[in-house]
Structure formats: C-alpha cells, structure tokens
Symmetry: D4
Subunit: 166 residues, 8 copies
C-alpha cells in the first residue's frame, strides 16, 4: 500500500498527533512522519512535495496559528491533502481553522475538526480516501464504525441506570 505522509508544523504537535498515529496503525496504513514548517523550512516542504504524488496517496498536515502548512502542500501536489487545525494559539484554533479551510477556488484542503478530535479524524478520513484504491480498507472502516457503535451502545446500556421512573 502506498504510504500516507503526515506533516506537523512543530515538534510540539507530537502529543496531539498521537491519536492520528494510533488510528492509522489501527488501519495498518503505513506512514512517514515529517516535522517541517511551511515558513521555516519551505524548501524542504517543497522537496518532499516534488515526489509526493509518486510516493504517497494522501497527505495529512497539522499546524496551528496562521496554519499555512496544509495549504502550501496542497499548492504543490495533486493528491488529497487533509488539514488539522491545531488549537495552540490565543484563539484556540479559530485562527488555524480559518487559515486551513478557507482555501481559494481550485486548491482544496480537506479540513477536519480542530484539536485532538481532528487528529483522529484525519486518520479516519485518510483511510476512507485510501479505500478508493485499496478496497480492503472498506472492511476495516466498517469494523471501526461497528466498534465505535458498540462502545456507544455499551454506554447506552449503562445510561439506563440514570433513568427515573418514580
């Protein structure tokens, strides 16, 4: 299976990205991790992008503040780019959400939830996208959905204890 490339704008995003890594592994999707900044290492980002269409099938990019990383990559590749707005500035991801999602016509970034929930969702979305070419992922995604559902249903069982029928 072609790999996913996971970019982070900063080392400090590693903690947030743990759930992204764990979820990709759960789907047995191979991935390369890059810590590269759109502003501090533009050449290195460009370098990876040059062969990204060949080496990868999906790119995930997490960044905070004026989060340009996902958009910068999207300008250089033709494979899908998923953006995770990191919520580490004064504005709690509001700036990174708008910087990631509001891309001009023709250069989309597939933006997911801000913060930790987004890290998980980026991995699930990557699996869904890959399933277009790797149908075996479809079953894993169904199993994942079922697992989530069962966890909720278990909680729902426990919830009955809170009902009140005087």
């Amino acid at each position: 299976m072609k790999k996913v490339a996971v970019f982070m704008g900063s080392k400090s995003d590693l903690e947030l990205m743990k759930s992204c890594f764990d979820t990709l592994k759960k789907f047995e999707i191979p991935f390369d991790v890059y810590i590269l900044s759109a502003h501090r290492t533009p050449d290195e980002v460009a370098e990876v992008c040059k062969t990204a269409d060949e080496n990868y099938r999906v790119i995930i990019a997490a960044a905070g503040f004026a989060a340009h990383l996902a958009g910068t990559i999207a300008g250089k590749v033709t494979i899908p780019v998923i953006g995770i707005p990191v919520d580490n500035s004064s504005f709690k991801g509001f700036d990174s959400l708008l910087s990631t999602v509001q891309m001009p016509p023709g250069v989309p970034v597939a933006t997911v939830t801000t913060g930790k929930a987004g890290a998980t969702n980026a991995a699930v979305l990557a699996a869904q996208i890959l399933s277009v070419g790797y149908p075996e992922l479809r079953e894993k995604l169904k199993a994942y959905k079922k697992e989530m559902k069962e966890k909720v249903l278990k909680a729902n069982e426990e919830a009955k204890a809170y009902s009140y029928n005087p």
Copy 2:
C-alpha cells in the same frame, strides 16, 4: 468510473453548486445529484446511504445554517464525505462551517471553503480522492493545476503595466 453523489440540502443551493457540477464535468467524473434534507427527508437520505458504499466512491454534501447533511451522511457510510458550508444564513456561513467541520472523533467530514469557492473545491477534492483509485485523473489534475497557473501567469504579465519606475 464509480460515480460521485452530490447532495444539496435545498433547491436554492443549485446556483452555488453550478461551479461544482462544471468542475466535476471538466474532470469527466460522473455524478448523481440529490436534493435531500437531513431534517426534512432523513429516511430518503438514509436510503441513499444504505447502498452508497457500493454505488459511489465519494460523496459531496452542501448545506447551510446548522448544516448537518454532510455529517449525517458521514455517520452512515465509509466512503469519504466532503462538506460544503453554504453561506446563506444571517451568519454568512459561519454557522454552517462550524456545523460541518467540528465532527466528533471517528466520523470525519472533509470540509472545504464556505460558499462558491467551496463548491469548486469540493469537486477538485473529489477528483483528487478518486485519483487514488483512478490514476488517469492524476494527469487531469495536473492539467487543471497548470491551467490555473497559466491563468495567473497571464494576469501577472498584465500586472507589469501597474509597476511604477519613475
């Protein structure tokens, strides 16, 4: 090629979606169009979703206000769902953006730009996603990128007339 399903929450979204249709056609991606509301026709949405994993490879969903359409579909399928936040309420798409992108962990919606720019971007993202399974789209995407670039470069030529060198 497996088709894309394009959902709109309301007939009034048709004008905004024109650029989405045109862009999909440009990529020669076949698509079915549905006008179905998550809240007014939940059963019909569910019905389409039941076979969506078989019939489609990507879903695009455009909705305004408390835009639940993309999220509702995402809860029922395992193929990628792209959400377009329509900017038709008092809050100019701010409500639909948050309602579309802030999905809980495990159920992503690939959210694009609000409004008309998003309609175009949803189509391009769909093409990028489909290219994972249909490599012939890769070349079309490269041509699309080149075309955009050339349009900008032509404008850039004209821009020189605005330079000022007294």
Copy 3:
C-alpha cells in the same frame, strides 16, 4: 405522566447532565436516559425516534462539537426537542450552539444556554412544556420560581453588609 427522553451524545456528558437529571426529579418528571450518538449510532437514534411521538412528550438532547443530535431527532419526531449545546470543544460551545440553534425553517430545536446552565434550563423548559398537558406542573413551576427568588432575596439581605454609608 408521559416520560421525557434525555439523550446525550457521549458518556462524558453525564457530569454536565447531572443538574438536568436533578431538576427533572425535583419536578417528579419521569425520564429515560439514552447515550446515543447521531453519527456513531444513527440507526439506534432512528429506532428510538420511531416510537418517540407515542412514548414521550418532550425530548432533551445534549451534544458538543458539531452538535447534530438534537437536530437529527427533530427531523424524525413531532414532539418538542430541546437542545443543550455542550461546551467541550476548542470553541467552548460556540460550535455546538450554532449547530444546535440554526435549524432550517420547519424543523425547530428549542435551544437553551450552553454548558451546565443549559442542562438545568433544559429540565425547566421540559417542565414548562409538559405543563401544557399536565397542569399540576404549573404549581411546581411556581414553587420553583419562588424558591429561586427566595434564594436571591436571602443573598440580597446579606448584600446589605457591603453597602457603604460613611
């Protein structure tokens, strides 16, 4: 008395919902508790909704992030649905408020305050709504109002100590 159905999108909402449960009990309103997610368990939500018009008189639904739970239910029933925007994302309930309240024409969600205050208010609103059919609740609501008032008046008595008349 017909029961109230109280939905939560996640087990983690239980703490927030305590004041909702306590307030419903105070009014001796029987209720069933469900932990069901609009996105992870859409079929189970639909299942409960199928008979909700018969089994319940009011539905309360609490959810965070792109809070679709209340709206999803509102699309499937004709009894009143009260939505509590949970404030657990990066945006402190701003996303869940807009996702809950900005419903399209024809499918209202009776939205209350974000967070813990909303959990209490949902219960009081449920009691007010039920009082339309169960007039005995009117007296309890008047007593509740009086109790609140007396608590404030007691604080007002204590407040005099802060006055300053040199």
Copy 4:
C-alpha cells in the same frame, strides 16, 4: 384551544414575523399579537405577563439588538417562552442570539434560528409544545412534516436532470 401570545419588540419586526403568523394560522392556532418593548414599555409587558399563565399556553417573543424581551417575559411566567433572535443590528443577529439563548440557570428561553427562518420555527415549535395538551395538533404536525418532505422530494426529482453520466 388556549391561545399563543406573540410579542415583537418593534413594529419593524412585522415583516419578519409574517412567516410566524402564517405558520400559526396553518396550524389553526389562535394567537394575540403584541408590539411591546422590554425597555420602553416594561409595565405593559409585566401587565400582560401577570395573566399570561392563565390566558396563554405558549409565548413567542421576537427581538433584535440586546434582545431582552423573551428573557424578561420568561422571568415573569411559567409557561414556555420561545425567543426569536431578530437579525437587524450591525451584528446580524449575533447579539440578539446570545442575548436570547444565554439565560441563567432556572429561567430558560426556548431559542430558535436567527431571522426569518426563526420566525417560522417559532410557530412550529409552538405547535409542537401545544400538542402536549392538544393531541389533535400531532396530526397537523405530521402533515406539515409530510408536506415539507414532499416538496423536497419533488425538488429531488428535478435534481436528477443535473446528474452527469457521460
């Protein structure tokens, strides 16, 4: 059937409220209309509220800017109060939404969508609430839901013409 009281903060809200009136009439729900301001005619608001618990079963209140009307009424009655945030200030209803929905614990306002969509939704919510005591409204609400659905399904039929299957 006990009547609904519909309050507006200003004569200029009449246009927006047309869809509220029309929808209430559609459900054959009798209603009294008041144009009374929480700030300019507080005594008259209080006067109507004094007997509101007897005369009415639901109150609808529409106001813009720092919209206090619904909340003021909610502080004086025990029947359900529905608030419509009017979008007529510089902030397009953002101020009236927060002023209406963010009520302190114990005094809920059932808030609906901002603007015209909210005017319709307030009427539908009123019908849903009244149905608790007037079960004949249940059928009308089901018919209303069906009518909405059929309108969407008709649009969905027309939507097929936009599909593209080269």
Copy 5:
C-alpha cells in the same frame, strides 16, 4: 451626596465586584448593594427602580450570561445606568458584553470593560458622572489620575533596567 446603587445578578459576582466597592470607597461615594436578578426577582428590581430616580444618582449593574440586568433597570429609570459584563459563562463575557451594550435606541446602558477591569471602571465612571453634580469629586478624580500616572512612571523608571545599549 446622593448614593450610588450597585446591583449584582448573583452572589457569585461579589468577588469580581470587590474592586468596584473599593474604588467607590476611595472616592468616598456612598452606595447601596443589591443582589437581585432581572429574571428571578423582577418585581424586587422593579420595586427598587420605582424610587431610584429619587434615591440614587447613578446605578451600576453587573451581570453575566444574557446579561439583562442593566438594560432592565435602564428601562425603568432616568438616571444613568452603568453595565458591567461579567465574564463567567462559556463565552467569557462575550455574551454579556453584547447583551449589555447593544441596547435599542432611546434606552442606553453605559457599558464598561468585561470582567474585573470593568468593575473598577464602573466605579470610576460613576465618580465622573457624579462630578457633574458634585464638583468636589473632580479633584478626587484628578488625584486618582495622578496616582495612576505616578504608578506607571515608577514602573517606567524600573523599565530602564531592561534597556540594552551594548
């Protein structure tokens, strides 16, 4: 000197209001403290307001959430009403700011800074307003300004140590 009336919507606002009390005392302005809620004790608020034009010269009102207290009072009196938006909800005073300041034409609330800074500023503004009728306050205000200035100038002296002249 005619007194100032200081209202709080809740006992929990007392801590925030300490700086308001202290500043009023600094100016030797007598004041009465009320803990009264616009929604829980509307009659008591109305009662105080009935004689407020006679008993007081300025009113200060602090409230959080959908902060209606200052506006409610402003609708009932003709003396100036100062509103302090308390920052205790999920939205950190953003809701109370808009609920306090966005009053409709004809019924102003003199709104000050959100939170603790606002509590101080309300007291200073009250002193400035009272100085219109009690010119002796003018000197105290000038002394207060001078004191603030000297504190800053002292800090400015210390700041020199941070200068850097290699």
Copy 6:
C-alpha cells in the same frame, strides 16, 4: 448649562451622528461639534481636552475601525466620556466596539450601541448624566421615555389587527 462636546473621527460620520444631534437638541442641551482624529490630529484633540474639564460636562466621541478617539480623550479628562462604535469597517463595528469598550482599569469609556442606535443612545445617556447636575433634565427624560412608550403603545394597538382568533 455647561455644554457637551461631540467628537467625530471623520467627516463621513456626520450622517450617522444626525440622530445624536437631533436628540441633544430635543433635550435643549447645547453642544460643540468637533471633527478631530485621534491619529491624524492628536495635538488638536489634546488641545481641546486641556480645557474640557472646565468647558464641558460630558464628551461624546464616535469613531470606527480601531476606534481610539473616545479612549484617547478619556485618558486626558476627568469628565465622563461616551463612546459610539461606528460600524463602517469590514467588521461592521465589531472592531470599533472592542476598541471602545475594553478600556484598561481606571480609564472608563461609557460605551453605547454600535451604529445609528448608538448615536441616539449617546445623546440620551449624555442627558441622563447631565441630569445629575441639571435636575430640570429629569423631567425631559421622563417625557422622552413617555413619548417612546406611547409610540410603542400605538403600534401595539395596531398590532391587534394581526391577532388570529378563528
């Protein structure tokens, strides 16, 4: 009667300020009008402020964008300063509201509604403040309140025509 000084940041604010002028005239409050910018004519603003404590009893200042005018004046005088956030930038007065109201502790600006409603409210607030020293204004304010009330009550009479009692 001591005069009010009315400042505008720009000539283009004149239209908005018409309702402020008209309302001050209604109360027969004399006023001087200045068009002076905090940033373009800081010395002239300072010059007027130097004698403002003697010449005026209240200052009204209207400004848009990063509205510093009211705050700048407040830093130089000890009489009350009323700020009107003009809604002429891309952000429709959101920037000018925060720039006007969020003054640091010790230097309050009495902020009113954004836009045209604020222009009226600034004049009414000025009259209320002046009434502390000029009790004759109290009666005019009561008459103004009565007039507003009667206008509403007249509208309320007409509103009855919209009631529906089948």
Copy 7:
C-alpha cells in the same frame, strides 16, 4: 531607491490595490507589481523571492480567504513583508486577517487593516520602513501627515456649523 514589490493573490484585487499604488506613487517609491498566487503559482512566488532580498527593500502582499501569500513570502526572504488582508470572502476579511497576522514565532508579517484602508496603510508603512534607509522619505512622510491633518482641520472648521448653542 530600491524598489518595493507589490504582490496580489488575484487579478480581482487590483481595484482594492489602487489606493496602495497611488500612495506609493505619491511618495515616489518605485514598485513592481506581481499577480501571483501562493497556491497556484508557488514556484513563481519562490522564484521572485530568491532574489527579493537583493532587488527589493520591502514586500507588500495582498490576499483574501486563507491568505497565505504574505506568510509564504515571509518564509523565503529577510526583508520586511507587509500583509493586507483582503475582505472578499463570506467572512469579510476575518479569515484573511487571522491567516495573515497569526504567524508563528520567527517569521513575522507586518499586518495592516483589512480591505481598502489596509491598501493605503501598506503603502504608508512601506514608506516608513524605507525611510530607515532613505531619510529623504522622512520629509515626505511628515508632509503626508500634515496634509491628512489639514484635511481633518478643514472638516473641523465645517463641523462648527453643527454645533448648537440655543
């Protein structure tokens, strides 16, 4: 004098930029105009940046939506980059403001006002920056300030006609 480089993300920004061009010309500052998009022509942007430190002394970049242009350039040059947030999306420049100003530590963008006011301000800021190396600009800036002041003072003269002294 070394030139300024003025970038626009799109041809449609030309109208907004007119005041930028006019103001630069007023200061007799030579400039080159580029219409280049960070996402559609990243290589061409990089190409210009490669020699920008030699060819230019200041860069101005105007962009809307998720405005990455200024930030992208700032990552590649060491001369000052001024960013103008264009207000052309649904969010009226709120997205472009945050995308432009919230740059991570080490890579500043000197951000000015959104929209047309920002286009003028970018030119003035460029002149101020250039004056560090070209002291002759200092006098022109003083003349510009004086001219602005005189325009305001002229308006202030006319403003007297609005004063009211019965």
Copy 8:
C-alpha cells in the same frame, strides 16, 4: 546603530516581552524600554514621541485590552510602529488584535501575532526593518532563519522514529 524603542502598556507585560528583548539582543540591536500607558500617561508618551523620529528608527508597542498604545504612537511619529496585541483580557487578545490592526487609512501599525509569539515576531520584524538602513543585519537575519531551519530539521530527523512501515 539607531535604537529601537520598546513600549509596554503595563509592568505586567514584562514577562511576555522577555522573548522580544532576547531576540533584539540576539541581533545586537540596542533598545530603550518604556512602560508607559496611552491612557494613564498620555503626556509622557507624547513627550517620548516628540523626539522619536530623531532618536529611534523603529518603535515596538505591546498592549492588551483596547490596545491603543501602538496607534497613539503611530499618530505622532513617522518611523514604523510595530504593535503586539497582548492576550490578557477575557477575550484572549481578540480585542487587542482588532484595536491594534484596524487603524484608519494613513496611520498604519505593523501588527504581529497575539501573545508571546508576537513578542518574538516584533523583534524579528524590527531587525528586518532596520536592515533597510543597516545592511549588516541582513546576514544576521539569514543566520537566524538558518538556525530556525536547522532546529526544525533536527526535529524532522527525530520525527522519523514515529513513521510506521509494517
């Protein structure tokens, strides 16, 4: 080298400003530090500004709340003024950002990121601006950029350990 003047609105900003001081020192740029408030010490601010065009080449100003300090200075000097929006109010720098950046046409403030990141960026921007007149700074800026890059590349090396190739 002509010095930079660094202003803070309050002593409490010193901690935030440490990274500004450290970065300026790294570039060996001499600077004077002032703690002066636009509102509490307007005369002293004006005093420093009077000779600022002679004594300094760049001014940095950090302020929170309705941050007027940078704008006030910009109105009085012709050298570039950099504004740092401090994030210490209820609104986490949202108020200070808008108060700093939204300057009217003709009087720009070069605004940087909110909070600590902005303190660093102000220093870097100051170095970039000074480099127009002091070309020796160009090399230091390139070294700084290289250092940032190397830090990222080192992190990127470590990042490889997180890659997953089953």
